[in-house]
Amino acid sequence: MACRRISESVVRGATTAESVVGQALARLEGDRFGAVVSVDRDGAMERAREVDLEVRRGRLRGPLVGVPVVIKDNICTRWWRTTAGSRALADFVPSYDAAVVERLAAAGAVVCAKTNCDEFAMGSRGTTSAFGPTQNPRAAGRSPGGSSSGSAAAVAGGLAPVALGSDTGGSIRLPAAWTGTVGFKPSYGAVSRRGLVAYCSSTDVIGPIGASVEDVAAVFDALAGPDAGDETVATARAAGEELPRTAAVLLDGDLPGVVVDAVRTVASCFPKRRDASLPSLAAACAAYHVCAASEAFSNLARHVVRAMPRSRASWAEGTPDCFGPECARRLELGARLLGERHADALYFRALDVRREVARSLRDIFAHADILVCPVAPHLPPRFDDHLPPADRGGGGDAASRRGDFLDAVAPDLPADYRDDDFTAFASLAGLPAITLPVAGSSSAGLPVGVQLVARRFEDRTLLAAARLVSRLLRDDDDDDDHEEPNASIYY
């Protein structure tokens, strides 16, 4: 919505990209949420003027023309520092633009700032960045969620209409839920990862955060598509948008009443509903963390090599201390899983759980078009709140095998790993998933998000479903005239 309004005004000549971007830059420079790591004023103004030139030549159209975008600081930008929230990359200036940056530029969007994030996207609370924590613009004193904390906060705080985040196990969906924004994790393989600082390559996905489904859909359309530079991107185009009819509803464990209510409200938008269950969300989440730590171990090794002086003495002394504590803990876990604990086959058991999760999800989607579930098992926590460790799934042989797996790895997992209980499974299976804010459902006024998940590569079906739900929840069937406060501030 915000995007289309800006874009139409710019194309029509009612305003200029330069003016829109200038206002966005002013807001970004006044960031009070710890959302922004760096602003590229000169570059952004120059790009905005180029957009205006192209518009005058009639060469640019579409919903992103002149739209200011902020992107998570783990996405490479040429000649512009890219830190991934880490000291290790404090002075890293990429020699190339990420594929998504090229695509945004081609669509006429203007990248204005790089946003704060948990170090190397490792965190769910927005607290592990070397550049300090991010505040939640919608819930003072509470976590905005992570790891795309700055992107979600920038949108929620009105600093930018849309942002790019990355989602490895929930890093777009969780902060979107906790800041009351819309966060979309596309199917694994729908968007190129070229230029994304890797964390867990087999689940890392870049996706948009915005104030409305229309905005994230517009950004997704610009980002999606094959890229010869990323072999994991699918060459086939995502399937068309058929409106889903049957929703599977997944509610599991001890959830706050407002979350359960919100999920039921969203589910009620679909003609048919059925209850679904995944054998063990906690085991799936643990398996995700095992995969992530194992892949992170090799993915982050390059930053160590880069940080080391080229002398024999330094290499004899051992590796430098260039990572923050949470990052270092996860890398140690990865090293253990692939090293001395290799014999326990924890990594391979995690891959088994991963396959099991994919199978269960296929069963669910054999009888439903869309899965509706919570985003997080709780509302935005205060910065010092932590969840108790997982309760064990019980009953049946398979469950006890998963129990063994959980017992074996739980002590090694991050403190807040259960934040990802409802998001990790879609990451493991590469499914598209979106967080929708359900307004006014928390008594304390805290944002509540609900998640919709679809079959892999049915991203557009999912977006169509999300658009339908948000329209029904707004109880407003003419969304063209709907005025969003966030949109009006740009022109």
């Binding site: 990420a98 171990f297 090599v305 002398s311 290499w315 692939l338």
Partner: protein, 487 residues
Amino acid sequence: MRRWRTVIGLEVHAQVLSARKAFCFCPTTPSEANSNTCAICLGEAGSLPVLNLDAVRVALRAAAALRCSSISETLEFDRKSYSYPDLPKGYQITQRRKGLGAGGCVEFEAEGVLRRVGLEGAHFEEDSAKTTYRGDAIDVDYNRCGRALVEIVTLPELESGSEAAACAREIQRVLRRAGASEARFEEGSMRVDVNVSVRDDDHLRPKVEVKNLNSLRAVRAACDYEARRQAEIYDAGGVVAQETRSWDGGETVRSRAKGGAEVYRYAPEPDLPPRPLESLVGRSVADHVDALRREIEPHIPAAVRARLRKRLDPLAAAGLVDADDYGRTARVAFFDACVAHGAKPKPTAAWILGDVAGALRKLEFDTIADSNLSPVDLAELLALLDQGTVSRRAAKDLLPDLLQRRTSSSVEDLVFERGLARISDVAALRQFAREALDAHPNELAAYHAGKKNLEKLFIGKALAASGGRADPVLMRDVVRDCLLQAS
């Protein structure tokens, strides 16, 4: 003192012939240090590998040529982690779970014995950067980093340094014949690691790896040295540490650069999803490998040697095959063509390996195929020689002309044009004999005084006076006749 037997396995790394690197688009042409680099091969954050399909196809030729018994249906890659400046990503992309091919064998001759050594298999991986040390500083040249390698691992079936070297040499030949690699030690496009251990009776001791041997001589010497070192330690009641060592030219030393036993933390490479090989070669893998084998097999040294041995002695067969790495089978093809034109196999081989090779060297031709000598020419020349139309000496004198000739006249015409035909006219021969006798009065006197073996000298001088064209048998008679007359 116990009797120790040496057990050696080879790991051969050869750079695959390809215009670009394994996982990026950088060229592989020699150039200034660190100029052939990009975000991908420098491991810049966010960069992703893009598989060079062409390099895989070429590496497959190596797997087919080495007779790998099972060629993998899918390409899968793994990460091998270690931390060193020569590996900017902190891991090497390699194939751990499944290589290009498993099994296979190499046949070669070592000290006159025909040997056959099994292979564990061949796999595709990327090369590391080249490091050099300046005191404490480590200089890194990333031009080599990310180049496509094929690694060939033999079973531990080699029993001496010279066998190990012969096996490495044969693998080198096979790679060159298959068009898979230049495989030059001196340029680093082939490197060998050896795993050496010793055994007494049936107890195999732990192996020691000696890395980065950059010549066949180093392979032989390092294996022999290491086996002796281990035997001596065991004889003295010691224990050999399982470690990585390097060869300094005289002995193996514990390798400090990359430490001893390493944990490589292998894991699947998530950036390169498994890819069906069929999609790369455009037909079924089995069909493709069959076609490759049909194409390459006739050039594989062991097969060619076996074929040639039916007509030639082993030394000549080996000579034709062995001296000829890059020109594939230039010499063998030339030999085959000569024989097809009616030349006798044995003299043909002898000429190709002897006089022709010498003339090529003198005129700085790399291979016989680079010269203008055609198989028909050589067959014709040998026939003229056989008929007695030209002498051996005259035939040899004609070679440089044939190698460089621009005309297409027959060899026989050339022989007469140059006046190189054999002289059997007795009057002419007598003339040469007289000259020889007249030129050596002292020797003639000695001959008549009883030194009868000086006859050979006069025959030789008379033949020389004819420019080698005189019929030697007739000349002997003529010289004897003249000596009798002179007395």
